[in-house]
């Protein structure tokens, strides 16, 4: 599909969404693939809506997301009156634009047309003097239904935008009691809404048409994690990493590369795998020492330490990775996929979530982690893993653990994992690390 066509689809979606909201539509849900311009779309649509006199509340999931939205908004649309509503103990970050009002007292919230940005938690605990005309929720798939229920005091109209492939809201407790609840409080709010037939008549459902972050050749790998179609915005061959390492050819074309090390006979180390950590450090060292060149469209430049990000599922493993990096550690972000959500780097190195798992559980097969790991890079992705993963996935027989009538999360997760790995195999993108 041509870029012109994709751009036209973006414009059409924004126009339809703007029309729906300004015409009094009460419930809009927009699905977005990774790096597709969610926040940009939200800002563009709501700037038009605000210009028509609406008073809009925007809910972000973290304070840093809320700050980021304000900064982007005032840069793109200085004509919109933007306020940041925060708790009293929180100070504005350094460099926060002075043109965005920093409000900590609900009595001082702007009353006229414009936008007020706060976290979901802040909105849910605030008694408002008057409701807003619209509550727009960014990263909506990270918001649980229980969180949304508390936001019923904010507005009677809702716009939700988010990435359904990302990690669902954290559920730290036994939730079997609510698995069959008609509106399960722990599920992602848009998931509950989209599963509710009674809302079909009133809701607007759309999706952003393309992934703009990933190299064209990487997009096929993340499609199995989504239930809607999308295109690659980056043309083929435009992004990659050119390097003289033995496995460099596989990275040049922008596809993910899996580097494997042998699995011991007694099974892979659990949680902390020092060999994998050492391998990650060696990969970083080889890339930085071997004059690797990033190709980002027409721009080419040497790979720098700050271009690299590293992720693994376990914090103790991340600590081992940080330790293995030595002097580079200060420049390279190492974190869990949960903390990588919303972030990107030209080059990512990820420890495959099944590398240390020989008998996958529902937690291990949850696809959000792998999806986030596989969708943070702009030019190159290396997955480091023990070499049993393909066999483990093929030998695994998923058993239905869900309550009657509920989606088979384990089965779907297994299927998505298997498709991802099979694509690596089909492209000869699994190489033994030496």
């Amino acid at each position: 599909m041509s870029l012109e066509t994709i751009d036209a689809q973006y414009a059409a979606l924004r126009a339809r969404l703007t029309d729906y909201v300004t015409a009094g539509g009460r419930l809009a849900v927009v699905k977005a693939p990774p790096g597709s311009g969610k926040t940009h779309t939200l800002i563009e649509v709501l700037s038009v809506v605000a210009s028509k006199g609406m008073r809009i509340a925007v809910a972000a999931q973290t304070n840093s997301q809320a700050d980021d939205i304000c900064q982007r908004w005032i840069t793109a649309h200085p004509e919109v009156r933007v306020a940041r509503f925060s708790s009293k103990g929180l100070a504005a970050p350094q460099g926060f634009p002075a043109s965005v009002a920093w409000v900590t007292d609900k009595k001082e919230l702007p009353t006229g047309p414009g936008v007020t940005v706060a976290t979901t938690a802040k909105w849910s605990l605030t008694d408002l003097a008057a409701p807003y005309d619209l509550l727009a929720i960014d990263e909506a798939w990270q918001m649980s239904w229980a969180d949304l229920m508390q936001c019923a005091v904010v507005s009677d109209k809702f716009l939700m935008i988010g990435d359904p492939g990302q990690i669902p809201p954290v559920v730290p407790i036994d939730v079997r009691r609510w698995e069959t609840s008609p509106r399960a409080p722990h599920k992602a709010a848009p998931e509950v809404i989209l599963a509710e037939p009674a809302l079909e008549a009133v809701r607007f459902v759309g999706s952003l048409p393309a992934c703009r972050r990933l190299p064209n050749e990487s997009v096929d790998f993340v499609r199995p994690f989504y239930d809607f179609p999308f295109e690659a915005y980056i043309p083929p061959g435009e992004r990659g990493l050119d390097t003289s390492t033995p496995w460099g050819d596989a990275l040049a074309d922008g596809r993910p590369l899996a580097l494997t090390i042998p699995t011991p006979d007694h099974g892979p180390p659990i949680e902390v795998d020092h060999e994998i950590a050492a391998a990650a450090a060696a990969v970083v060292r080889d890339l930085l020492a071997g004059a690797a060149t990033l190709r980002l469209g027409t721009t080419t430049r040497p790979l720098e330490p700050h271009d690299i990000g590293i992720t693994s599922s376990h914090r103790v493993m991340n600590a081992a990775l940080t330790a293995a990096l030595g002097s580079s550690a200060g420049h390279i972000r190492v974190d869990t996929p949960e903390r990588w959500q919303g972030l990107e780097r030209p080059m990512m190195i990820a420890v495959h979530p099944l590398s240390g798992v020989s008998d996958p559980s529902a937690f291990d097969l949850e696809t959000g982690r792998l999806c986030v790991m596989a969708s943070r890079h702009q030019a190159a992705l290396i997955l480091l893993t023990r070499d049993h993963v393909g066999d483990t996935l093929r030998n695994y027989v998923p058993s239905a653990e869900q309550a009657p009538g509920r989606p088979d999360i384990v089965g779907r997760g297994h299927n998505a994992h298997l498709k991802f790995w099979s694509q690596l195999e089909d492209h000869d993108s699994i190489v033994a690390f030496t």
């Binding site: 508390q150 407790i173 550690a329």
Partner: protein
């Protein structure tokens, strides 16, 4: 316990040949024998109703009763009514005792019910399904419904982290000891008790545990026993009942077999109780907070609703559906309460348990730091102590700006991380004291946070929880039902559910939406 630590402890247990303590303290209240009712069930294979029940206070002779055929609804109802009378009295449920539990009882007033394992706890769920809205039972209908409601509450409460009223003996032993065996085997109460109580070396304990494992503890009995010894007796009893013959002989024989089975399960549980009650490890000081929460949960989730059911002037009441919370606010509110309990749990216990603290250090939920600087960011007469800390960047941690931390051993003090700075060798963290900032810490120095004496001292911190905030949000869920967006978030039509009994009878069970929103009585 994280998996690496769990495996290490297992290997240690294997090395010394016996189970080893999991932590340095016991994380559960253990009440005196007269406040501890021990309950065990047996049931027919494939049936949900009890076939027999053994119940009684620890240290006493239990009441052991059974029915000849667990499929005969009326007989089981009589059995359950007898059990209900003692259970409701034991738990001090309103209307079934002269001494009902008040809203704020003393910590020492906790009443516990011990069951062998999770499968026996699941029997509480079955009792809830069968009786909470039953239309049967004749003169026993009221007490059976009360049994269904309290069993439902007990079952639901076991899924709340830190619950104290209902104890799975097997789970408590598993939480208190690391066994030198696969996890799946250590869920067997007999296996656990054999490892813990057999005298001798590892081989002796292992052999005893293997023998004990051969005897079922679950409510469903060994299929061989049921097929070879009980099946014919039940058929004979049924034939005699139909033909007007002697039902006593087969009935007594069935009772004799079931009583033996029940008594073995009950005794094992009582042994587990005595083992824990006489444990050389102390009960964690934070358990008192868990008991306080447990009392509060019992009051608000059961006792208060019982009051309302018997006296409508006390406010609206509803009978929780055994399957789930259909009412959106009820579901979300309970979910948030359980989340708050989970958040608070470790925070209550960690300050009194060095092993728990070490585990938190291992997986980044706690950290040790060196105080580099103490400043005062206050303006005028206000004091806002700030510390700059140095951490080892190679250790796992979960630090982020705005996260709240508490000094280890000094629960109640709290600080917020306001800055993180990483360089090649150090991780520098700036914290600002926010809670009890003018009170001395109970750490290595008895000094206030603003005191310069802290410079150069090593201090440990643990993650602080936001449980009180989560609890507040659970109330906001109900309050938001009047908000303009409630058409989306709080609206949901109800539907009664038809439950068919084994004998073909059906009950319409009304969900909580029908009761709360539509005022349907059950």
């Amino acid at each position: 316990m994280n998996s690496v630590r769990a495996v290490t402890r297992k290997l240690e247990a294997w090395q010394i040949g016996q189970p080893v303590p999991r932590y340095d303290t016991i994380h559960h209240a253990i009440m005196p024998p007269d406040q501890t009712m021990i309950v065990a069930f047996v049931r027919m294979a494939g049936e949900s109703r009890p076939w027999g029940i053994a119940w009684g206070a620890a240290g006493t002779e239990p009441t052991v009763r059974s029915v000849p055929d667990g499929r005969v609804r009326d007989d089981v109802a009589v059995l359950c009514a007898a059990f209900a009378e003692d259970l409701l009295e034991h738990l001090r449920v309103h209307n079934w005792t002269f001494n009902p539990a008040p809203q704020k009882p003393e910590l020492g007033d906790l009443r516990q019910v011990w069951l062998p394992n999770g499968q026996h706890i699941a029997m509480l769920h079955q009792l809830s399904y069968t009786y909470s809205q039953t239309k049967h039972g004749g003169e026993n209908q009221d007490i059976l419904r009360a049994l269904g409601r309290v069993a439902g509450w007990m079952f639901r409460d076991t899924t709340r982290v830190g619950s104290q009223h209902v104890v799975s003996a097997s789970s408590l032993l598993g939480d208190s000891y690391v066994f030198p065996a696969q996890d799946v085997r250590t869920a067997h109460l007999g296996f656990q008790m054999a490892w813990l109580t057999t005298q001798g070396n590892r081989d002796a304990r292992l052999a005893a545990a293997a023998d004990a494992e051969g005897l079922t503890v679950s409510p469903t009995m060994n299929p061989t026993l049921e097929r070879d010894r009980l099946s014919d007796l039940v058929s004979t009893w049924q034939d005699s009942r139909r033909d007007g013959g002697d039902t006593h002989t087969p009935g007594d024989e069935i009772d004799s077999i079931l009583s033996k089975e029940l008594r073995r399960r009950w005794n094992l549980t009582e042994d587990a109780y005595h083992l824990m009650a006489a444990n050389e490890r102390p009960v964690n000081a934070g358990v008192s907070e868990l008991v306080r929460l447990a009392h509060s949960e019992f009051w608000f989730q059961h006792q208060r609703i019982e009051l309302r059911l018997n006296d409508p002037s006390q406010g609206p009441a509803f009978v929780a559906h055994p399957e789930t919370d259909f009412h959106g606010s009820a579901a979300a509110s309970r979910y948030l309460i359980h989340a708050a309990a989970d958040e608070a749990y470790i925070g209550y216990l960690i300050h009194d348990d060095p092993a728990l603290f070490r585990e938190a250090l291992d997986d980044g939920r706690a950290f040790e730091a060196h105080v580099l600087r103490v400043d005062d960011a206050g303006v005028g007469r206000s004091t806002i102590p700030r510390w700059t800390l140095r951490l080892d960047p190679s250790l796992p941690h979960r630090l982020r700006e705005n996260a709240r931390v508490a000094p280890y051993g000094s629960r109640g003090h709290e600080a917020t991380i306001i800055d993180l700075e990483t360089n090649e060798d150090d991780l520098l963290v700036t914290i600002e004291w926010t809670s009890r900032k003018t009170k001395p810490l109970a750490g290595p120095l008895m000094a206030k946070p603003a005191d310069d004496a802290w410079v150069g001292v090593d201090v440990a911190f643990v993650q602080s929880d936001a449980a009180s905030l989560t609890q507040r949000r659970s109330q906001r869920v109900w309050a938001a039902s009047n908000g303009p967006g409630a058409w989306l978030t709080h609206g949901k039509a109800s539907a009664p559910m038809e439950i068919s009994g084994d004998d073909g009878s059906t009950d319409l069970v009304y969900d909580d939406v029908a009761q709360i929103a539509d005022g349907v009585g059950v």
